[in-house]
């Protein structure tokens, strides 16, 4: 069974540019999560999709971040325009069930560097 995949693995962009990260969850997993780890800090929740609907987007830092999950399959996270503080590793995770019942499977992450 293929795991969660993320693309690209690493992105370097200049401040003010746009970047789109992609996540392909495990097939059949309705729940998809985005997290971010800024250097020196803990992994922090960004948002949660159930199929194509946003269940919880309380962790999104500001309106420069836009997440979509068309058709309830893969998801994209767009940062526009990128700022220096957006640098970090962005993880995607998926699960079959929600909450504590749902073991989350994480992708390898996308390392975003904004210069």
């Amino acid at each position: 069974e293929a795991g969660v995949t993320q693309f690209p693995s690493h992105s370097v962009i200049e401040k003010g540019q746009t970047v789109t990260l992609r996540c392909d969850p495990i097939s059949g997993h309705d729940n998809l999560y985005w997290y971010r780890r800024v250097m020196g800090k803990e992994i922090k929740f960004l948002l949660h999709f159930v199929k194509e609907s946003k269940q919880d987007e309380s962790g999104m830092p500001n309106n420069r971040f836009l997440a979509e999950r068309t058709g309830g399959t893969y998801s994209t996270l767009k940062v526009q325009p990128a700022e220096l503080e957006d640098s970090g590793v962005y993880f995607c995770a998926s699960s079959q069930d929600t909450g504590a019942r749902g073991e989350q499977y994480f992708g390898p992450g996308t390392r975003l560097t904004v210069t």
């Binding site: 800090k41 992994i43 949660h48 504590a100 989350q104 994480f106 992450g109």
Partner: protein, 111 residues
């Protein structure tokens, strides 16, 4: 304010010994606590989940305890091996709220 603290940023132990990692939390009432392993360049991998009404959970060489009075979880790896070297993360969850992670402890098992 709500806080999760993992005892130390790094822990070095000798091969064959038991590694004990600590996760303390304040101002949370988690229903569940999870432990993950993360290797460099990879995402976290789920290891164990323990519920608030469970005192202890075991899986092979791993043991987790959960003390809701002390607001603490201990994560033990017995007969540690160099292959156990990684960062270990604790994460809290309550109902359908998002996972809240600690910063992690980097464990190095020295042969």
């Amino acid at each position: 304010s709500q806080k999760i603290e993992q005892n130390s940023e790094a822990l070095n132990i000798q091969e064959g010994k038991t590694a004990t990692l600590t996760c303390n939390y304040t101002n949370y009432s988690p229903a569940y606590l999870q432990w993950y392993r993360q290797d460099p360049g990879r995402g976290p991998v789920f290891l164990l989940l323990i519920r608030e009404n469970e005192k202890e959970k075991r899986k092979e060489r791993l043991k987790v305890t959960f003390d809701t009075t002390l607001k603490q979880s201990l994560f033990h790896i017995t007969a540690s091996q160099p292959a156990d070297s990684a960062t270990y993360l604790c994460a809290l969850i309550s109902g359908n709220t998002p996972l809240v992670f600690g910063k992690g402890t980097r464990l190095s098992v020295i042969a």
